[in-house]
């Protein structure tokens, strides 16, 4: 199958679903405050496009900041845990707590303790995103080739050299795998945080707009927000996938170019 066909197939499927949806709405004369058709949603998107895109950029700012923070701290924490079995046994359970605690339940406290909205959202989105990076990177650090480790030992490598030249490259594919998962989680985290924190006003993000619109029963506008958020999440995933392939293209099986198989 060619690349074009690969891209066309899902697009055609999407178009089919949207057409059926539009037809169903029209034939059954469903009112737009119950379920608007795709064309109505697109019109709403067109009408308030600049405003919604601006709100999206507010949301993405938090998402990307949280993702970068999660990448840096997650890799750092994994490196720390990899230093000793004892450190891992002592601290890893807390990383698990971080993962299984719904951020909705933590949000009220963070909102009380921190009064900068951006920081509140950042903390909550970071909490949602960091665990896959910690656990994947830790796995990667531990799966370095034991013979290579021996070789480093034989040549008297320092701890820093071993981390930089052996452990970090060994963990990179795992770290990037975690990052791809965390990209989506950071966005979900931001959206949930926005909804819980109840941000409003000109500097509020797209999730807040979605909530506002649904309160006012402007369903077309709410669904337009939803479509934009989904598209942003999808693009984020693709971007991280491309980044991962670029970084690994020379050596990792996951990024092997098609021609050389």
């Amino acid at each position: 199958m060619t690349r074009i066909a690969q891209a066309l197939l899902p697009a055609a499927f999407g178009a089919l679903v949207l057409t059926l949806w539009e037809l169903a709405v029209r034939l059954n004369e469903i009112p737009p405050y119950i379920l608007p058709g795709p064309l109505t949603i697109m019109a709403a998107l067109w009408e308030s496009g600049p405003e919604l895109l601006q709100a999206l950029s507010v949301t993405l700012e938090v998402t990307i900041a949280a993702l970068i923070l999660a990448a840096v701290t997650g890799a750092g924490i994994a490196l720390l845990l990899a230093q000793s079995k004892l450190a891992e046994q002592t601290l890893f359970p807390y990383a698990v707590f971080l993962q299984v605690t719904p951020i909705v339940t933590v949000a009220p406290f963070v909102i009380i303790w921190v009064n900068n909205v951006f920081i509140v959202l950042l903390i909550l989105a970071w909490m949602a995103a960091v665990f896959p990076i910690i656990s994947n990177t830790l796995l990667g650090l531990k799966s370095a080739d034991p013979n290579l480790k021996d070789l480093f030992r034989l040549y008297g490598a320092s701890r820093g050299q071993t981390v930089l030249r052996l452990l970090a490259p060994s963990a990179l594919p795992y770290f990037l795998g975690g990052l791809r998962i965390s990209g989506g989680l950071a966005l979900i985290g931001t959206v949930v945080a926005e909804m819980v924190a109840g941000t409003s006003g000109a500097r509020s993000g797209l999730a807040s707009r979605l909530l506002e619109a649904s309160y006012r029963l402007e369903l077309a506008r709410a669904l337009a927000c939803f479509a934009l958020l989904s598209a942003a999440g999808f693009i984020l995933y693709i971007a991280l996938d491309v980044l991962s392939r670029r970084l690994l293209r020379h050596w990792h099986e996951s990024a092997r170019p098609v021609e050389s198989i």
């Binding site: 070789l151 050299q161 020379h250």
Partner: protein
């Protein structure tokens, strides 16, 4: 005679799992010699090399290395090529020099010399996955020799290769050895390979490994392909084979 490069006195190894890999062993390796170790699978050959390299401590006994064969001047070639997949041929070979913080200019010079010596010119910028099995093994050998080791420990380096490549690499290795006079300890499953390469063949018994025969190879120092076809070569192989057979018989009897 010089001081020996490596002396093992009563060295044994019992792993924490309780596996006795090596029974008390005495062994002395002369400086500049080429010694092969043969023995059945699992008899402790790899363990012996790892003990000598200092990668695992002995359970009892002492290992003395000549001052010229410190761990830093030791080259180790594993059974698999054991390359860093994220690094090019040149960067893989440069590893020992990088870890010793050698200056860039000297690294470049020594790496290109090592690349040429193992016949990998033109592949310095290739990644391991672009290389064949034999080429990867040559990268591994180049890495082991790039820092001018006095002691080269090789653990079945050619076991995974076909005979053509193996013969070629045998010839290359001999030539390198004759030129540089490293001390080489070479583990192999192949009796013919051991006889062809070495001055001395050490035969080990099944686990727990003991040295059951220590044979000087009675062949001229200049070895070439024609040698493999002659009677003298076949005779030497037969000697090692019967020593190995005896090792199995004693094992079965005890």
């Amino acid at each position: 005679m010089n001081d020996p490069a490596v002396v093992l006195a009563g060295v044994s190894k019992i792993f924490s799992t309780g596996t006795a890999a090596l029974a008390a062993t005495d062994l002395s390796i002369a400086e500049g010699s080429f010694t092969s170790v043969v023995g059945p699978s699992g008899c402790g050959k790899s363990t012996l090399l790892r003990l000598i390299a200092g990668l695992t401590p002995p359970t009892s006994g002492r290992i003395a290395r000549a001052a010229t064969a410190t761990p830093l001047a030791t080259g180790f070639v594993f059974q698999e090529a054991t390359l860093m997949p994220w690094a090019t041929t040149a960067e893989n070979i440069a590893l020992p020099l990088r870890l010793a913080s050698v200056a860039d200019a000297e690294v470049a010079a020594r790496v290109s010399d090592a690349v040429a010596r193992v016949g990998l010119g033109g592949f310095a910028a290739a990644y391991p996955r672009e290389l064949s099995g034999g080429m990867k093994m040559r990268v591994s050998i180049a890495r082991a020799i790039v820092n001018g080791p006095r002691l080269l420990l090789m653990d079945e380096p050619f076991a995974a290769l076909d005979e053509f490549t193996r013969f070629k690499l045998n010839d290359d290795l001999l030539e390198l050895w004759q030129r540089n006079r490293w001390t080489i300890l070479f583990v192999t499953h192949s009796i013919r390979e051991a006889v062809f390469l070495s001055e001395r063949v050490v035969v080990m018994s099944p686990r727990p490994g003991r040295i059951v025969a220590d044979l000087a190879v009675d062949l001229p120092p200049q070895r070439d392909a024609a040698l493999r076809l002659g009677h003298a070569f076949a005779d030497q192989c037969a000697r090692v084979t019967s020593a190995l057979g005896d090792a199995f018989l004693t094992q079965a009897a005890s």
